[in-house]
Amino acid sequence: MPQAITAVNDFVVKFANVNGSGSASANELFARAILRMGVPVSPRNIFPSNIQGLPTWYEVRITEKGYLGRRGGVDLMVAMNPQTWAEDVKEIEPGGYLFYDSTKPMPSSAFRDDVNVIGVPLTAICNATYTDARQRQLFKNIIYVGALSVLLDIDPKEIERLFSEQYKGKEKLLDSNVKALQLGRDWAAQHLDADAVRLKVRRADAVGDRIFVEGNNAAALGAVYGGATVCAWYPITPSSSLAEAFSNHCKRLRHDKETGKAKYAIVQAEDELASIGMVIGAAWNGARAFTATSGPGISLMTEFIGLAYFAEVPAVIVNVQRGGPSTGMPTRTQQSDLFSCAYASNGDTKHVLLFPEDPRECFEFTAEALDLADRLQTPIFVMTDLDIGMNHRLCRPFRWDEQRVFDRGKVMTAEELEAGKTFGRYLDVDGDGIPFRTYPGTHPTKGSFFTRGTTKNEYARYSEEGPVYVRNMERLQRKFATAARIAPQPLRYSSPKATRYGVIYFGSTSPAMAEALDHLEADGHHVNALRVRSFPFSQAVEDFIHEHDKVFVVEQNRDGQLRSMLMSEFTLDARKLVSVLHYDGTPITARFIAADIAKKLGQFKVVSFDKAAS
């Protein structure tokens, strides 16, 4: 055997399968079993925009250190798809392992000299055991999990426990799965030398109280906790599972105990135009409402988003970003909708964006967005992406403060109107740019007004007078400045050593960035980091840029959209901001970030801060 990679609790396994073969649950089982052994995992689905037949991958990073971004490279490839064999074999690290179905002999040219090959005749085992075609297909996946568990030292009890949770009350399914697992284990124990595989999982205590959840599920729960009662949506990958999860949470948590009636309404609209229209109508009428969509849906919504901005109606839009432009890469990830959301619609419009880094923040920010939409009376975008939305991530558990009540913002009540409080729908009474509103039906004679997308004066009366229009637009700008103060603030991570270099990043780049910073530090490259969590940017972002000679802006799009927005919001020397861009549709890796930054630091002919100072 060639030299073998040796690693304990720190390696990458990738499964190459065919879409529709039922491998997804087996692969997830593999990841969860390791998690149950107290070892963090970070899985990624890499799947085609297709239901059956095309290649699909599931990459599991086993990472006791808890790095949850993609590392890059593969140590063990489970190559179950002949179609992608060549490219899968190529991806294995030198000294890595190739696990394959050895039922049919393969020519030696199909392998690599520097890769260790493990053959298990999976098809033959299945055919000898099962007669039903679907069973042969499905149990093949469980059998390879069984064989892998022997090779990697994964405790079979954890897998069996997961089975018994999954098939509670379905004893037949439970038994047959346990049997298939044992089949794989027995074959491996009898025919393979487990010691030859030097990738091992050892029980650890590195998971703590963290939870393992998909961002879409978390955002949906955030909508429940944030008090959304109306959800209008239209199916689009990768956001559909968010609306579906909202529906499931509501079924459990939002039915009136006595009457069984629903304290929510979910409408699958005819298109995205209608879904945002419904959100706007509901929010205008005093309910908390949201929609979930992705890039093409945002394109359709833009006219309505402009209306909500100018007429000052709350709306929450969760944009689970995917690869663009146009239909782009529907099942791949990107952070490329910043422009189309921040400046959605005609005229001088600007919108508030929130950038969650993981499922925990998907939960928090979605709930927060419902408050912010009411407080600011404007659309709020929660900018997640496929990478967070559709992958399980380990994250801190959800928390909710018992004392917290929904912040409904400035709403004038019938009592206040009755008491003679002045009501001008677009009057800036507090100087923060945010006016008071009333809900329809509030008072028999006072406080009603007309909502419209056309220009109006402080009392909501149609007016095209120049100064009136300008006053209104300036107030909206003041409101935007208020948003910069009350939206989630950036978080700063300082290098242990003083440095003139900084890096700005946001959203799902976060875990890969955290690891990249460690790599850079280890290589003697010191950088301070700032994670931007909302747009408009707060003052702290500008300060951070001014404090550094060069600031890398890491993002997952071609045009450096965040960088452009920083330049248009602040007065900066453009040469200061250096883009680090990754946008092939796969989640950015720590290796990529660290290598690109190191390379660019080299190009600046850096004298390290220590030397310069001495």
């Binding site: 429940v224 008090g227 419904m278 205008w284 039906g441």
Partner: protein, 351 residues
Amino acid sequence: MTFIAKPRLHHPSLVKNKAGFTRRDYEGAVSTLCAGCGHDSISAAIIQACYELDILPHQVAKLSGIGCSSKAPTYFVGASHGFNTVHGRMPSVMTGANLANRDLIYMGVSGDGDSASIGLGQFAHIMRRGVNMTYIVMNNGVYGLTKGQFSATADKGSISKKGVANSDSSIDLVSMAILMGATFVGRSFSGDKHQLVPLIKAAMMHKGAAFLDVISPCVAFNNHAGSTKSYEYVREHNEALNRLDFIEGRAEIIADYAPGTATTVQQHDGSLLRLRKLGEDYDPSDKIAAMKRVQEGLAAGEVVTGLLYVDPTPTDLHANLNTVDVPLNSLQTADLCPGPQALDRINASLR
């Protein structure tokens, strides 16, 4: 101009309805539409209907799209909230508004350009969802606000003011509404308030999706000889199927009517639709017959008016979604937020 509010001085002798309001309380700002525009007559009919129904003005939510017709909500029921949305997409906004507060009375106003062209999709879907509302299209066969282009309801062969003949087939919104599942469908003419006012009243009390197509001639661009939506044409070709009396569900009033002279349809809430029949055999609760009669009218070049179809026991979107009886917008943190203990259980299930 719309931004000039009418003076709120009331003549002391104005008669108050049971809700304590005079007819003037149901008016809005001064209209900016062309003098003689059919839309103003429809606004007047809406004012009359609300007054006669003793509606609390602030309980009305009036929504519209974009167009001359969509400006009309400014000109009626001034004490209620209104929403001029975007072109053709009022239905979705009204659907959302209705979901948020089932207790208000929803009035949607749209034009034929708004509803039959850019907004046809949303028009169809609000009908099939059964949103409890009154949806009125002020139908003039042209785009008024953008100055005279044909709309999708202009009849094939009709001639524009500039002398251009329309070569496209027209969309009949009444047929569309019946087909899509509206449970109350009527057609009328802006110049016929005796038919229009009771129709609006009945539609407003109907507990489901009520649609009224009201032919409303545009005096600026479509009230000339070649148009099939002109005053003259509609007067000559109007075939009223029925005249309607709307009676709220109060037992004593029923006795006022001599039996045998008319058909009466009782709605779910007990209100009665009393139809003085012109077409002897016309039964508005028979959906298939209604479709047939409307199509026959179209083929004969007639504008068939009246209450064309009604399902007296409709369901609405809230019933379909099984939502709570109180408005969703009245639910508070305690009603909606499952709290930290439930979250701990959810956390535990995710390990």
